[in-house]
Symmetry: C2
Subunit: 980 residues, 2 copies
């Protein structure tokens, strides 16, 4: 009997033994089995995979097979991986952290944990660009926005940003831009250090000058001040009254930006009621674990006046083709798709899954529940103050919600005495300085935890141990100033006042889930997005408490497990990219671009060439590229593409030479966004280097490269990797993403630092994210992916991704025109199909084909990008031949339907494509269309067995943008929705 | 601010403090909040819950409120519970067991673990009696049947039994009955001891005489022999050739019953090929964890000739009203619903969820994968034999698949030396005797495990430690006799040869799930089944390895956590029932009945009254009652019911006196199956006791009793509890269930024992299940339920269950006739509605109303039981007022639709009820019905927002029973299914 690998390319050469594991991951991850792979190769006219790869990947950049084998990265079976993860989990000490600084122990309601966070039908969803098959998560994100608006008392909120620190940076830039680029931005001294660090980085690119001081006293109304950032409550726990500051700032048209805490706002007068223009923070406290720093959803809200300048994704209400209410992503066009270098933010992937968790937490607890939680947290903090006061620890901050800054000098010699006692008790407090210790209370604190905390202080002070019986009744005093107590109600909307039993909550989660198409249903072949399955085995450790309950600023001797995962992953990513060093800090692809370009700038500066600020970017590049360049303070110069889709090397050379003295960087995506491996990539890099520039390789398409070529071999100096693409972190309905950067040796010294942990290079740029390792917990997924595939499995995955795409291109090419192929007729891992001919012939647009695909149960591919008339299709290696064939059948059938429109058999404005997608409501009602109900909803016979129903018909984008409404419907509106 | 309980009855009196937990379980478990409860009370005309309970629960049996408070059972919050469970998990030592005896370390594919076992949409499903909204699990159960048929080479297989030992007992009884009750049954001496123990118990009731010996030599073809049970491979690992035995048995018309192992059958000639008539075993090895004994799905297969005698649920293929293929529960009428005391088995709830897991395992691995796994297991066993042979351990069994019985005398003084070394290495082997040790290899054994096993022997023998390098290449020899090697192929059906990547598997699981209605969608108000939500917090510990990877025969010092859970649960169940002792061994309600009645018999025997064998049972009793009585060797005498539904006390007294000298027991369900608390229950018990009988209380309806009354107070001597009803173990689409019995002090000595662990009373009856504590792992769920609700929450749950049912009865009573109420007009926790008037008026049957409810997105209530023209509706305490109102609206709307039929507006045989349920296919096609599509599928407006679609129209039962087909469709048939 043979034990060799079944799926994929069966290229494993190591002899199988009786000990070979059978639960090998490549066999589960790769879609086609070896028989199917052979069939696809033969359809393409190849006798071997090597011959196929030879024709597909340019020789110039091809690496030797020996560079990525199972000896280079040894594969673990699923079971072996699980054991390894368990062992590393044990290496993280299970301390409870009361460090605060924006991170709290979260109590995740089990029903949300299981049915959202651990549920593939939620976490494998794509960003809801296709509104008709995404009404569930759109509704949930509107709940998130509504919750933020209501808690903060602001007019509008977006559907999440990456973390509090970068959200603050977005706020600062908004102030800067809306002020007409006034240069000075003031930061209150109560703002968390990690936020300040990120602001420093971001200020640089925009040429903003930062002033730091006590905003209530030192804020100086300079003419050049565009805004001020305050934290409420501040990092030391204080609740300062910024009302006067706000008036003063507004007098000089400076914006008031407020970092805050949603739970505190259940008790505090919301910033919207005292003059805030922008309010932001981290929503993780609403049921999302710390995870050693993330992922967490930051929130961002602003006033009506500023709403069209707000960064990030915004969900709005609109209506569908039948006039029924429908949710959608609003104002899409204002961001990366259009604005490019005119954008003021590069945010793209955000934190949808975590925003959904936080929203569900609010739905579950409702206003009453949240109030109770806040009261309890505050009451316990109050009690702790009284108790530790008895031991001689003086609370420095007179006002607080959940955080005490304690002066220890009346009780112990130095703060270290407290920290030592804490270590013995298995808890962490905030290290402030020799005289001060910080303690932050959270929802998870029960009587045992409370006694443990209190007894750290009693034992440090040599007092007697407190027992349950000693606990006083809850203190009646509050340390929230009366003038800053919340008087206004919050979360009055029906959705927050209904689903409070687990049964109701489960059904609500499940009901929303049932509206959304995900990888649990069918292929989601989004070009450039690499929507492949995120394996259960890689998801499992994520929610183990050993990994999820770790504070990002916990002492490093407590996080050995995490540090090992990080070291492994950095090392493997370097092997894969061919680079020298890696930073895992950037928490999205776009954040990676920004970090990488900032590193390039720092490099030039270190060589006395800080003046280098021109960034060349092909017109085919993703919109985030120019946006990131702009944010890094560069001037974007576009480079042309050739007829065949590749970068116009002549134009590149001309521009590079023209800007020789100011050339900072060139950004290139490889394989290109047109879905081909460009032959000239090394030449392009050479041109840039010759002219003093650095090459940034956008790694969004790395899925086609692993084990076959590498960014380093292509000639680049730095690249980002979208771990949520190539390295199988789930897309989560629009995030979390992770965008680490890998760099060549000369750039390593500039990798980003962090104010609270030594990371990054010797000449590091400031932080680019709130936590030292960004969204640390989900790094486990990519670590699992790499470790379980091993070198050979990684390479096989790339090969199969290429084969699947080329087989699909072959099957479709008799029906559609594939826009770009290489000289051998091969595409890379995705294919670009142009629909312009159908528009010309019959007014059928690419979007009509896309919407019609929904009727076949498929998520449409990327539409109108990178070319407006095109569809970019990426099947990935995870899809089986069956599924690819089903997709091709659907495309071919639609081609026939289009033919009927072209030949006039079906009218141009009332046909199956224009009317797509079709809903149950459509077929239940009167039918007066020139085609049958059957043809509308069951165009192919297998749809009778497996059909996914869009819940609304085509959503009206223009209407929604004109009538921007971004919160939950009221009771009256809800009732109305049910009417036919 | 008040911190008192929000949901339910807010009857908590303990003053809330700042330390009160906020994640209190009653607040999440109970559906209505206190405002809604007050509203329902007022609708019923009560000012307080006490007044309502006073009118509902008879004073005679009411217990004092002080008997079930939070002081009696202290509630834990969800977080506190999680910590407690973690702590007890740590008290189970994580040894790896290679004990065998039918239990193996399972490798659960993560995609199945997460998406079936941990997925509420799978585990909260009800038994698939309503085929139209259960095609997903029906298909999966057909996969299970097909897998069993194919692996065993038998003609037909059922959809699971409770465990291997009880399955063997069912096999024995089948042999006994089909032989015309011949008295002798032969058991081969290679059968596992727990199986033999269960056979001993079961033989008693049927008066079967057991002979034990070597079936290949000592089988004596007595005229009175009805059958023989052999184990293949046997408990010591031997693979015996029973071909001659089979011929010999068949010559005298004795049946050959074979206990076997599905994985071994991948390499062994299947029993169906050498003469087996019945084949059974445990399927847990296919991806279901040990769980300290279960739950696991036993399988049961037989020849064509015996098929209509087969116990348990059988899924068959049939067709729907439009002639399309559809799955359904076949031959339903042959079991408890009809046969009662004529039944030969009482099996009802079985192990559907676990059968589905095993079936999914086979789907995922396919024939090739399973062959690889079997080859590996066998190869490693072979290698181990060679290695330990080198240390002087002689393998006693010449043939084997995965189990070695080792004679240790050539290597060590006594077996204990090996067990001591094993304990040091953290592994368990089988304790056979002083000279022999057993080792069984399984799928989970990797190189490290293997070395650990081998080195136990090397170190016990004082040899040098073996390292990875010492391992020989896999041995080429096989220890399976050539004549018993499998030649035939298995699992050729498409479903086992398609879904082998995780992506495909996930989609298959998800696709089946999407066809099935579960608690994740809507109320499933099944009278007598108590379909309330199974909380996530109670489900979480179940799949922790600390609980799931424990062998049922592990040494007790390794299972302290489990023993504590068991002790807690037994204690709390005694408090709740008012009884003295508890046995958790019976693994279904019906198994509990059988165990309880067997205990009663043993009690009579102990008093020299073994002749007492008459069991009085009201005609209203569940069919399992008489079936269990028959199995316990009793004669069933039916007792009449009164007009008002209660037991006819005069008839009872008359019958009790008539049978005074042989009266063994009386079985009564309380509240009765008619949904009322009978006033005379204590009188009834008194009558029985006076006449020398014992009272068995069927606890299926205990949900109405907890904290308000108790089986003991009612006057019974023993009761079973369906943990899957009152104590919130999920129904899992038809199991697992658990049916512990609680008994008064005088019956405690007779509680069941187990051959491998001292459990039960001093004069214990033999085992009633394969494992000492039955389906031990899911006891965690009921333990969680009780511990998190606490005394008050348990009582509040009962009260709310009563209030919900009475509110529903009130709302419906203007439209339907509620058949039985007490003298105050109150029902208990469920209500019985009679539809006979509609049949008379317009030929509309109760089933038409039930099927029409599917169109409204509800699972129909229990239909035609306990009265053929009735529906039994149980909302449970978990349902919210909103959901109850939605259900009532649906019922009222259907009443209006029925009126149209009665008044002739709609034809009698072509109306919305008769044609229900309606599918998408119905409305897509031509429409020639006398009502609109809208009225068919959207009869109420909220269905436009939330609609569940039955995937087939009404299923034809008669056709399916006539054309009994119980395996997966072939390729050709599958293709045909897609045709319109
Ligand atoms: C080519 C390319 N670059 C960059 C990005 C931005 O990555 P992220 O969405 O993680 O910010 C994308 C996202 O789709 C992309 O396709
Ligand atoms: C009244 C009654 N008794 C006994 C049983 C049998 O329980 P089980 O299905 O667990 O065997 C049932 C099952 O519904 C029941 O309703
Ligand atoms: O299966 C039941 O009858 O509940």
């Amino acid at each position: 009997h043979s034990l060799s690998r079944r799926r994929g390319l069966a290229t494993v050469r190591a002899p199988a033994t009786i000990f070979s594991a059978l639960d090998t991951f490549p066999d589960r991850h790769i879609g086609p089995n070896s028989r199917e792979a052979a069939y696809m190769l033969s359809e393409l006219g190849y006798g071997s995979i090597d011959a196929f790869i030879h024709d597909t990947v340019p020789q110039q950049v091809k690496i030797a097979a020996s560079e990525m084998t199972d000896d280079v990265i040894r594969p673990l079976s699923e079971l072996e991986f699980n054991r390894r993860a368990k062992a590393l989990g044990r290496d993280n000490k299970q301390f409870k952290s009361y460090i605060g600084m924006g991170y709290h122990n979260a109590v995740v309601p089990p029903v949300i944990l299981r049915n959202v966070m651990e549920n593939p039908a939620w976490y494998t969803q794509y960003t809801p660009y296709q509104a008709e098959i995404a009404q569930g998560r759109l509704e949930s994100l509107v709940n998130f926005q509504t919750m933020v608006m209501s808690m903060t008392a602001m007019d509008i909120a977006n559907a999440s940003l990456l973390d509090e620190a970068t959200a603050a940076a977005e706020g600062m830039v908004m102030a800067h831009i809306t002020s007409g680029r006034k240069k000075v931005f003031f930061i209150d001294d109560g703002v968390s250090p990690q936020t300040v660090a990120v602001l420093r980085t971001r200020a640089k690119g925009f040429g903003i000058e930062l002033r730091v001081g006590d905003a209530t006293s030192a804020f100086d109304n300079e003419a050049e001040t565009c805004g001020v950032l305050v934290q409420y409550p501040d990092v030391d726990g204080r609740i300062k009254d910024f009302t006067d500051l706000a008036s003063s700032a507004h007098r000089s048209d400076a914006l008031v930006v407020v970092a805050t805490d949603l739970l505190a706002l259940a008790m505090l007068k919301p910033p919207g009621e005292w003059g805030a223009d922008i309010v932001l923070g981290n929503s993780a406290r609403f049921g999302v674990p710390s995870g050693y720093g993330g992922p967490h959803a930051a929130f961002f809200a602003c006033t009506e006046k500023l709403k069209r300048k707000m960064p990030g994704r915004l969900i709005g209400r609109s209506r569908d083709a039948s006039g029924r209410p429908a949710y959608r992503l609003a104002l899409q066009t204002r961001e990366q798709h259009i604005r490019r270098e005119k954008a003021t933010s590069n945010i793209c992937t955000s934190q949808a899954l975590l925003a959904n968790m936080a929203a569900m937490y609010a739905v579950y607890h409702g206003p009453e529940g949240i109030k109770r939680i806040a009261n309890k947290v505050h009451g316990l903090t109050q009690l702790l103050k009284v108790i530790v006061g008895g031991y001689g620890f003086k609370t420095v901050n007179g006002t607080f919600f959940d955080t005490l800054t304690l002066d220890v000098t009346g009780a112990v010699k130095a703060a270290e005495a407290v920290h030592e006692a804490a270590a013995k008790a298995g808890v962490n407090f905030r290290h402030i300085d020799n005289e001060h210790v910080g303690v932050t209370i959270d929802e998870s604190v029960g009587p045992i935890d409370f006694l443990r905390i209190a007894n750290v202080f009693s034992s440090a002070a040599g007092s007697s141990i407190l027992t349950r019986e000693d606990l006083l009744p809850s203190p009646s005093a509050s340390s929230i100033p009366l003038s800053l107590s919340r008087a206004s109600a919050f979360l009055p909307h029906p959705v927050f006042n209904k689903h409070h039993s687990e049964t109701e909550m489960l059904r609500y989660i499940h009901h929303l889930e049932s509206k959304d198409l995900s990888l649990a249903h069918s292929m989601t072949p989004l070009g450039s997005c690499t929507m492949k399955l995120n394996s259960t085995s890689s998801m499992i450790p994520l929610t183990w408490p050993e990994f999820s309950n770790v504070h990002p600023f916990a002492p490093i001797d407590q996080v050995k497990g995490y540090l090992q995962v990080i070291k492994d992953l950095e090392g493997d990513l370097c092997k894969i990219t061919g680079y020298y060093a890696c930073s895992l800090q950037p928490n999205s692809g776009a954040a990676g671009e920004y970090a990488g370009l900032s590193v390039i700038r720092a490099y030039h500066e270190s060589r006395g060439q800080g003046y280098r600020d021109v960034c060349l970017i092909p017109v085919s590049a993703h919109g985030t590229n120019p946006a990131s360049a702009m944010m890094a303070g560069m001037k974007v110069v576009p480079v042309k593409n050739m007829q065949d889709g590749s970068v116009d090397l002549e134009d590149l050379a001309a521009k590079a030479e023209k800007h020789r003295n100011s050339l900072a960087a060139f950004m290139i995506t490889y394989p290109s966004t047109f879905g081909v491996f460009e032959e000239g990539v090394r030449d392009a890099c050479h041109i840039i280097h010759k002219n003093g520039g650095q090459v940034y390789l956008d790694g969004a398409n790395l899925n086609a490269q692993v084990g076959l070529t590498s960014p380093a071999v292509c000639g680049g100096d730095v690249c980002h990797l979208n771990l949520h693409k190539t390295f199988a972190i789930p897309h989560g309905g629009g995030g979390p993403g992770v965008g680490p950067i890998c760099v060549a040796e000369h750039l390593a010294p500039f990798l980003p630092s962090h104010p609270l942990l030594k990371v990054g290079g010797e000449k590091a740029i400031d932080a680019v994210a709130a936590a030292p390792f960004g969204s640390a917990s989900i790094l486990l997924i990519s670590w699992a992916y790499v470790k379980m595939l091993g070198g050979q499995g990684l390479t096989d995955s790339s090969k199969m991704a290429l084969l699947n795409a080329n087989y699909m291109a072959k099957r479709l090419s008799g029906y559609y025109s594939v826009r770009f192929k290489n000289k051998n007729g091969r595409v890379a891992h995705e294919l670009l199909i142009d629909f312009v001919e159908f528009d010309k012939a019959a007014g059928l647009k690419v979007v009509d084909f896309a919407k019609r695909l929904q009727d076949f149960g498929f998520h449409p591919p990327t539409v109108s990008w990178p070319i407006p008339t095109c569809m970019l299709i990426e099947p990935t290696e995870s899809e089986s031949l069956d599924e690819i064939d089903r997709f091709c059948e659907a495309m071919i059938k639609i081609r026939q339907e289009a033919e009927d429109v072209i030949t006039g058999k079906q009218p141009k404005n009332n046909n199956m494509l224009k009317n797509a997608p079709h809903t149950v409501s459509d077929i239940v009602g009167e039918w007066d269309r020139p085609y049958s109900r059957e043809d509308a909803v069951y165009p192919l016979s297998w749809l009778r067995e497996k059909k996914f129903w869009p819940t609304v018909s085509r959503v009206d984008d223009a209407y929604g943008d004109l009538n921007l409404v971004c919160d939950c419907p009221s009771v009256a509106e809800t009732a109305h929705n049910f009417e036919p």
